[in-house]
Every structure is written in C-alpha cells, then in structure tokens.
Symmetry: C2
C-alpha cells in the first residue's frame, strides 16, 4: 500500500497529534453532487452502482477531488449484507429499500447463511482495490457495515419503518428468533469488515442507525452486545498499522460510556449532544467523530462557518476529534455549502493543535 500523504484522519482516530482537525462527511459520495448523479444515471440504478466496482470507485473518489475531504468512504449500502445472505433487495425509483420477502419466523432465520464476503460480496472487494489505486495514497479509505440490529430492522420490517412494530414484537415475543438472527448478522458483518480490511480499507465504521429507538436495556441486549461481538472478531492491526473502529449509534447519546466500553477507537456523535460534554464523559477513552447538525448545511456559508467554529471551540484544544456531520449529508444541499463546511474546518482548526 502506498504511503499516505494525508494521514490526519487515522491519527485523529487514535488520538495522536495532527496539524489540524480532519474532516469528512457521512454520505459524502451522494446525491448532492451533480457528478454523483451523472455516474448513477450511467449505472442504471443505485444497486447497480454499488455492484459495479469501477463506478463505485468513481463516486467514492468524487468528494476527495471536489470538496477535499480528509478521508474517503467506500461507496456501498449497508443492505448488501442481507442481500448476500440470499434476501431479495430492491430500490424503487424515489423509494427507500425494500425486502419483498421479510423475515417472519425462526425457520426464515435458520435458512440464512453466513455469506463468504470474498464470494457473494466480491464486487465490494474489487471496488476497494480500484479505489485504493485511484486514491494513490492521497487519503485513507474507510470501510463500513450496518449494525446487526439496524440490518435486522430492514430485514424484518421489509423496509424503512416509523414504528418498528414488527421487529419489536419479535424481540419481545420471540427472543430466540431475534437473537439467532443478530448472531448470524454479527458474524456476517465481522467477516465482511475483515475482508474489507484485507482488501485495503484503513478504518471501519459500524452504522447503528436504529439502535436509538430502543430502551437502555434493550439497546444493550439487542444492539450493543452484537456490535461488541463484531469488534471482538475484527482485525485490529493490519500490516503494522492499527485499524481504527468507529461506532456510531444515532440517538445513542445517553449511552456513550457503554459505547466507548466496547473497545472501539472512535465514537460517532449525532448533533443532540454538545461535544464538550461528550469529551468530558468519554474523551479519555476514545476519539470523537462529529457532530454538526446535517441540516446546518442548509444555512448560508457564514452561518455554517460560525457553527464549525462553535463545535471546534467546544471540543477545545488537543487531539481525538474527527470533524463530521452528525448524520449523512442530505441530497438537496448546495455543493458550495458542503465545500464551505470542509473549508471552515480546515481553516479554523489549526489553532486547536500544537503542531
């Protein structure tokens, strides 16, 4: 692997010295970029884009070239894992993802295999290799997967949900079924992330988008426990380098100590907590990633810059901060606003670092 020209992101994940705070955006390879929309149009749909390594590579590199992020994140979708387990997955035009035949019983779960990522997800591995050639050491590449609980919500609800009534009914009434599913998902995700690491990603993020809909006890039982199971199976050092693990639970700000206790290196913050409070609570254990409200990018550039400065000041002096939005960038954000966000972090953050 080429030596990295910009390793700020990896250093910040490990709470090492940096000259300024690194910054990237969740969903930075996305619809707000006209270049992304053009490539997606050529691919003929979202899932084709995920499955065509040269096009997935193309959109992964776009935000590095266009907005200047300090890390690239593999372009893919968390739901390719259940698809690799044999579940039919569709993305209708203007719709969210659908599993037309959701999981409904123990027999369904028993039938699910733990997929071989080199085989069923080989297109992801090819994309990673293409991206690394394209990046040529400019910035590190982040791999990712969904948390077992989050994947299970889609697999049981059959798509997105507002009430999550099916998965919760199963969790409360058929605990053996849900726990078997979550175990299989944890083992599938661990194998998948390890394959990503072997093929070249330099950090991994686990997206727990729906852990925050649970009570404290249920979060521990159904979400956190299985993320911990993943982390315990992960390759933590590869070719002499630590591979940082980022754990992000949207809506999980009440459980930061337990999240930091999983052995992850970085905790992702949404925007409902002040980062100084988060640093007081867990900054001695892990680095923090976040935490600007993604809707702030609707504001004019001056207001965006104010908010960036506010968050930098709250975090304060020292190491262990990866600047990011608290959730993915939205599709209707003007590109100029995304650029203003990245630039504001780059310009305003050096004063908080010694180097």
């Amino acid at each position: 692997m080429t030596n990295l020209k910009n390793d700020r992101f990896l250093r910040a994940c490990l709470r090492q010295d940096v000259d300024r705070t690194p910054v990237w955006m969740m969903r930075q390879a996305g619809r707000y970029l006209p270049e992304y929309r053009a490539t997606r149009g050529r691919a003929g749909g979202f899932l084709n884009l995920c499955k065509t390594p040269e096009l997935a590579c193309e959109v992964t590199l776009q935000p590095i070239d266009i907005i200047g992020a300090d890390a690239a994140i593999l372009f893919s979708d968390i739901l390719v894992v259940p698809e690799a387990m044999g579940m039919e997955l569709t993305f209708g035009v203007g719709e969210g993802p659908r599993f037309p035949q959701p999981i409904t019983c123990l027999a369904d779960v028993k039938n699910l295999p733990v997929p071989d990522p080199e085989d069923e997800l080989g297109y992801v591995m090819k994309a990673i290799e293409a991206i690394q050639r394209g990046l040529d050491g400019r910035v590190p590449l982040i791999g990712f997967a969904g948390s077992p609980w989050t994947l299970a919500t889609y697999m049981i609800e059959g798509g997105g949900s507002k009430t999550f009534s099916k998965i919760k009914a199963m969790a409360f009434n058929e605990p053996a079924t849900i726990h078997l599913l979550l175990e299989k998902l944890a083992d599938s995700v661990a194998a998948y992330l390890n394959a990503q690491i072997r093929h070249g990603v330099q950090a991994v993020q686990i997206f727990d988008t729906w852990g925050g809909i649970l009570s404290t006890r249920d979060y521990q039982d159904f979400s956190l426990q299985y993320m911990q199971r993943i982390i315990s199976q992960l390759i933590r050092e590869y070719r002499g380098r630590r591979v940082p693990v980022i754990l992000y639970t949207k809506g999980g700000m009440g459980w930061l100590e337990a999240i930091a206790d999983t052995g992850c290196d970085v905790v992702g913050l949404d925007w409902t907590i002040d980062i100084d409070i988060a640093r007081q609570r867990i900054g001695h254990l892990v680095a923090l990633q976040g935490n600007m409200d993604p809707s702030m990018l609707y504001a004019k550039p001056d207001r965006i810059r104010d908010e960036v400065c506010n968050i930098l000041e709250r975090f304060g002096h020292g190491n262990g901060h990866v600047f990011n939005l608290g959730h993915g960038i939205m599709p209707d954000i003007p590109v100029e606003h995304a650029k203003a966000f990245i630039k504001a972090v780059q310009e305003a953050s050096p004063r908080y670092h010694d180097q």
Copy 2:
C-alpha cells in the same frame, strides 16, 4: 366542580402521597379501541370527531370505562391551533395531517392572528364541559397543546417530515421569521391552555414531539424558550387548586435539567432513559411521567407485567411518578394488552408507597 373520587394523578404530579402509582397512556383515546373506531366512523373523519363536542366527549371517556386509566385526556389534536389561526388543515384517509398552504415567508407569519380560544376553539371548550359532566369526578381531566416548535414543523413542512429541511433552513437563514412565528404560537397556545383550564381541565401537558431533532443550542433557542414563555403565562392555580403542567420532549433526555428548570411540575420521559437515572437528575425538582416503550405493548401480558415491575423498581420507593408509556399507544395494540398494562401498574405499585 365535583370533588374528585380519584385524585392520584394530580397528587403524583405534585409529588404528594398516594396509595399507588397512577397510570394513563398517551393517545389512550385512540384507534386500538374498537369503540373509538366506531365513534370515529359515525363522526365521518378525524377532524369532525375533534370538532363535535359530544363525540369528542364519548371517546375521551372510553378508556376510563374500558381500561381504567387514572386520568382522562381531552380528545383533540395539536393542529387545531394552527387551523384556528386560519390555516387550512386536512387529514386524508390513511394519511397524516396536511397543510396544503404551508408557511413560507415573513409575510405569511405576519398574517397569522393569535386566535381567541373561546371563539375559534369554542368546540374544544364545549367538549371539556361535556367531558367533565360525563366524568362526574371519577378521575381528573388533562388538557393539552403542541409546543410552538412542534406546531411550526407541521406549518412549515406542510405535514409530517423525516428531514425537517424546510423548517431548519428557515431557522438558520431567516431567524426573524421563525422567531415571530414561535412567539405567536406560544401566545396562542398559552391563551388556549388557559381557556382549557377555565373550562375545567385540571392539568395540562405540552407535547414537544419534535424538539428532539435539534442540537442543544437550537433546542434552547427554538423550542424550550417558547415552552417557557407559555408556562410563564399559564394559570397555575385555579379555584384553589394547583394546575400541574407536564412538559414532554420526545428525544430530549439529554436536556432534562433544562426542561425541569422551566417551572413545569412534571417532566415526561420517553423510553430511551432509565427512570432511576432521570430521578437522580431531576427528581428533587419535578415529578416524572413515563416511561415504558410503547412497543412493549406488542409483547404478551406476562412480559408487559415484567417491564412494568422493572420500571416501578427502578423509580423505587416514594412519590412523584405518573406511570405512562414513553409515547402514544399504537393503533394495532390488542386491547387486552393495554388492560394488562394498566392492571400491572395498579397491582404492583402499592408496595412502593407508604399509604
């Protein structure tokens, strides 16, 4: 007003002694009850049901008769306030609420009047009087309104939203517009709740369903500040009795101290925080209402009872707990499960009280 035969709810709101923990459910007059669906069918739609005092009375009383709640809550909708301000409101079949002509600019806001609740919302006042005759002192009646921020989300987005991009863009780019709207809403809600109190409700709850989508600073600026403005205008004692104010922000568990500091009597908890932690943080200032995950009512009655016992044990011995769900009961919950929930609180809670 008839003397109350069951005043446990009001006493618990004021952290006074009770023989057992009182219990009611948000949205207890709702679609999970076949009797409700029958009355709504006769009304010819949701909004007609809200606007026909004898039918609103009928559905308000149903859960008292059928499941035995310790308090009744006025059947209405938070969006009758913007409708009384002149905004057209529709509820399509199987859809959420819609404002076909949402607020888009300062001129729209300037045109909104602060309505006279005795006039434009007179049907609510008639419903309250009918309900009090029907209750005949069996249990107290709770009035309610939406928080200014929550009402504004619907008025600006034109209905429900996942991203809240329109209101956030306005909040960040046109602060004068949003603050004028929130001021008018706060004054309208305060006048409305005071009218409810004068017509017979014995407690009021402010529903801040969407405060939790904000960052800490924005929650303070756009939501909490205006709830405080309402509370400062409310009648706090009526005919010799304290009128408790309950403030509920879904997703606001990170801000409990600030919420308790508004001068409310009770803080409503969602299910993402353990009630013992909430009691440690603010139990010396206010009573707590909550906090079972409403999805737990999908579980079988034994599991529901376990969870009720778990929450009672966590709150522990002493006063200041109103048992409730952490959000509204869902329409597809079996009535037997709702009954099992109420019964479990009634049977398991006396041991936590001295009387």
